[in-house]
Symmetry: C2
Subunit: 409 residues, 2 copies
Amino acid sequence: MVPVNKERVAELIGGLAKFGKGELGITRLAYTSTDKAAQMWLLKQIEYLNLEVREDVLGNLFLRRAGLDPTLPPVACGSHLDTVIHGGAYDGMCGVVGALEVVHMLEGETLRRGIEVIVFRAEESSRFGFATIGSKLITGKAAPEKFADAARPDDITFKEAVMEWGGNLEEYREAVLQPGSYKCFAEMHIEQGKVLEETKHQIGIVHNIAAPTRFKLHIKGMADHSGATPMGFRRDALVTAAKMILAVETAAIREKEHGTVGTVGIVDVDPGSINVVPGKVTLWVDVRGVEPDSIRRTLTEIRQAAQGTARADGVTIEEEMLTSDTPVALDARLAAQSEEICREQKKSFLHMNSGAGHDAMHMTAICPTTMLFVPCKGGISHNPAEFAENEDICAGIEVLAEILRREAQ
Amino acid sequence: MVPVNKERVAELIGGLAKFGKGELGITRLAYTSTDKAAQMWLLKQIEYLNLEVREDVLGNLFLRRAGLDPTLPPVACGSHLDTVIHGGAYDGMCGVVGALEVVHMLEGETLRRGIEVIVFRAEESSRFGFATIGSKLITGKAAPEKFADAARPDDITFKEAVMEWGGNLEEYREAVLQPGSYKCFAEMHIEQGKVLEETKHQIGIVHNIAAPTRFKLHIKGMADHSGATPMGFRRDALVTAAKMILAVETAAIREKEHGTVGTVGIVDVDPGSINVVPGKVTLWVDVRGVEPDSIRRTLTEIRQAAQGTARADGVTIEEEMLTSDTPVALDARLAAQSEEICREQKKSFLHMNSGAGHDAMHMTAICPTTMLFVPCKGGISHNPAEFAENEDICAGIEVLAEILRREAQ
């Protein structure tokens, strides 16, 4: 196997980081022209690999190196190129660049199976409010009706975005992959937490992925003049919203030992005017964990708080469920093999769970799937300060290459 | 005096309501093309009054009927045509339509002084974050540097809006009126509270206007991945913001007896993504009252809460003051005269204060000023449900006409 080329890895990650870079970080939302430009640039850089390029009707990209026996399902690896608003250069990109570097490292190897690098579209939920849309659709985990009309205010819908990209949501069935389409799938990713850094391990071998439960709380009070409405006469939806933000926090803290977390990331205030008592507020809530019971308890506590607060404040609170995924177990055999590889390569490793969702969790529906984490500075991600050492990324790539070499034989 | 023409009053208010009408109410922000269209339409309707039309460089409109003695300062009355986002058809419009109806009612009267109807621009703060901009500037209560660059995200600045309207902020000094420019100013307005309705009075005679203190609280925590950041490791700016929303509420409730109110009307969350722990939040706070000491106590309590919460949550909170006006006393002689007129016309009246700010409060700087309130349904305003009975509006116009007749003699 050719050794990992650290310079090229750094160049590709650094080059991608230029697309969408602003003063407050990298903003490269899925399906935007920035997303397209980044992908075009990347394809140009790896032309020398002579991969077979295919894009499905949803805009997912597949880059294939053929194997000796074209009748065998290939091994797959990959990740995503889109970022959150004001995000970083590593979340997603490490896995895509790492997968491409693996293809290069295995160029001289004679392998029975092909290797396919997948770039999933719309992993981040920042543009449409739903995460991992591309992988969810191609693995048959969801139908597009759910997302078709999703849009942030003043933006086009998911359906329109797919169209603008050059795809067609109506024909999404063409893109759905059958179980067994791949021998296996492996995704390398930054940890997005500080466990590897603080415990000084090079590689995280992921066993479970916490899946998000996401819902909106629609709070309806009464809009009134902020100067002429005495305090006792108000039904201020934002005051109720504030109590619910704290209720989400409290409910999650109570389940801290079980690793469950709860976050309100978006607040829509209507009318959102300094001289009007807010009449309506929508909170977007995200609850995650690896233990289904703990997630359930957290949701129950939030719902009870919503009922009690609505009654006390004389407002209504309606819940609108967006996604409710169950935690996903990854493949045990592949995890054991990763441990073996780490021992052989003399890399320190840790068995762990993923708090964040990843495309890999949907790939479990069609093939044995594994994930590797590499450390990132301060556990920070979804933030311009997101950073991973090139040395650590390349150590992950070495393990990833060996996984795919063994599986492709 | 010609009797008030109730049909025409209803037609003018109903006609104006069509400009900016949407499913969620009337949105006619200051200086927009909708604002312009409404004013053009209104001018067309009242052509028969043959008023001298003048617009200053800020877009304030002056419609004058000459008096017998052109050397005497005229009497003035008026209000505004702009609305909040998703507002109603009466706040502002009653006073403009009422003033024009007064000119009609006094057409046959021989009066020494002229009558001037003023349509102030940008009374609502919905577009630029500052209220009563037009009246503030022409009375010399503020210089335009304060507002020039004010803009909501994705909108043009105040300076650009004045330019688009056809004015020129650079030449604002031309628009400033000298003290003594008018004999007096009278503004009729819906109460925007429920006191008149609940106590069954036709006319509110206003003595003091509560002025708003408005400021932003900039809360800075740390943006992090919402799935991979354990609860104990977060510095969630939105959780702190929720505590501050409740602190504003609590501080105002403590001053309830003194009529002070406190409202958070706008919440800006950065990055505002469902999968990111909010790193920065800005709250827009509005505190009002008629007692300076009570306002001071409320602000002190909010500031102490901000300090304590920032320390406890490990975040920073910075205050940015936007406006800090002092409550304004209106003219006592004019109020006494209004009481006399109400008694003569056999109208029930109540002496009261205004919780909301009005253009009238700045007019006190250049001439004796008075205000009349008419009841509005449920005290609701800044809301599509805003409603005032035509009967009540016309009763107010009758008092207004008599005030101006006496003052113009």
